[in-house]
Subunit: 225 residues, 2 copies
Amino acid sequence: MSAEITARPKSRAQKRTNDPEGMRKKVLDVAEEAFQARGYQASSMGDLMATAGVTGGALHHHFATKKALALAVIEERVAAAVEETWIEPVRMAPSAREGVRSVFAAVAAELEQQGFVRGCPLNNLAHELSLADPDFRIALAGIFSGWRQAIADKISADQQAGRELGTDPQRFAALAVASYSGAMSMAKTAQDASVLRDCLMALEQGVMSSKTGTRRRNRILHRAL
Amino acid sequence: MSAEITARPKSRAQKRTNDPEGMRKKVLDVAEEAFQARGYQASSMGDLMATAGVTGGALHHHFATKKALALAVIEERVAAAVEETWIEPVRMAPSAREGVRSVFAAVAAELEQQGFVRGCPLNNLAHELSLADPDFRIALAGIFSGWRQAIADKISADQQAGRELGTDPQRFAALAVASYSGAMSMAKTAQDASVLRDCLMALEQGVMSSKTGTRRRNRILHRAL
DNA sequence: TCCAAAACAGGACAGTCATCCTGTTTTACA
DNA sequence: TGTAAAACAGGATGACTGTCCTGTTTTGGA
């Protein structure tokens, strides 16, 4: 399928690859997929080379070490994935609350239809690499931080419109990201996305909040949500 | 320090080890520590042997493969850790809500005083091994399940005492475990336990629950919690 | 057209890994 | 005390792994 990319063209008119930076992009594609599916340590450079159809010399030219490759995956791909699936949808949502709700629901629906759970790319790499290397840790921590900040900013925006006046932005964001990450961990381990829905519903009901008034309050809220 | 254990005794009266199953226990100790600190793949059998002061033959005698060793760590150590730090405290707590709150607070306090965060043992191994091997995955999923069930059972017990009538046990448990796991992931990545406190406070305020009534309700609740 | 630099090919290399094997010692039991 | 089985010692082994090195090809600018 990708033979025309790896094949060597003979004529001057045709370039070696049909798009610039194509080799680097292909390696990043394969590495992103492999690190996500098997993890960093379990993905050998040999496997990556074979899957990407790239020689050792080419790979080493673009990424001097395996660590450099992983750093590029984190900064260019994982950060973009968080941006795409979380930050941008929350920014576009009518409110922070509705944004979080809709992302939870969208991810749950996606996982249910595709049948198996690979987990959150950021969370997966964060667990494996945070303690292994400071550079990895800092890069990953920055993405987590930006993720939470985007949600907190949305709460602040809501507050300037007179809503969410009793909500602490940082704490709301921390709980949203933590419950999502944790739910994905369990979903990955159980290979079952239903825990995501459980978490979302518990979040909507404000389970930890009240001793007695929960049920009555929710009748009203279910219209709003 | 442990020389008297690994040293070979010469007399009949003295045993090779001063307690039965000592060698196996020591290997499990070292493996548990190493898997927690560096992960499964990053921990080589050679390192484990050296740290435990055990030869290859001895290790292989008790654990035929590295996988068997990891399975034993999961079933004997990780499960026990979850039991000790979560299940038992929740069972003993005056209510599910208070149990969850106190475990969160206790872990946060412990992390803050010891200065760095290694993460949740269950969560760490779950991320690395869930997709790698079905046997690992099933063992880990069982621990997660028992953890949630213990919290759900406590909610059910509260309900039989007339409390928590508006709370769904499964959903409450899912959110408690998910937010804890996710908060630990972030704390590990950021090497900062403060996100745990943020999550706990957001949980106590029921951040996701209400549009307008949050602040007023919390004034009342702060006495109860 | 020419040439220096970048991009890539392809194998070599030293090191590490998990596992296994053959002996030797200790234990449990009769 | 005698003996079979368990517990351990300690190295051998073959299969990777990540990295690097020397050529060759392609490219962009003069």
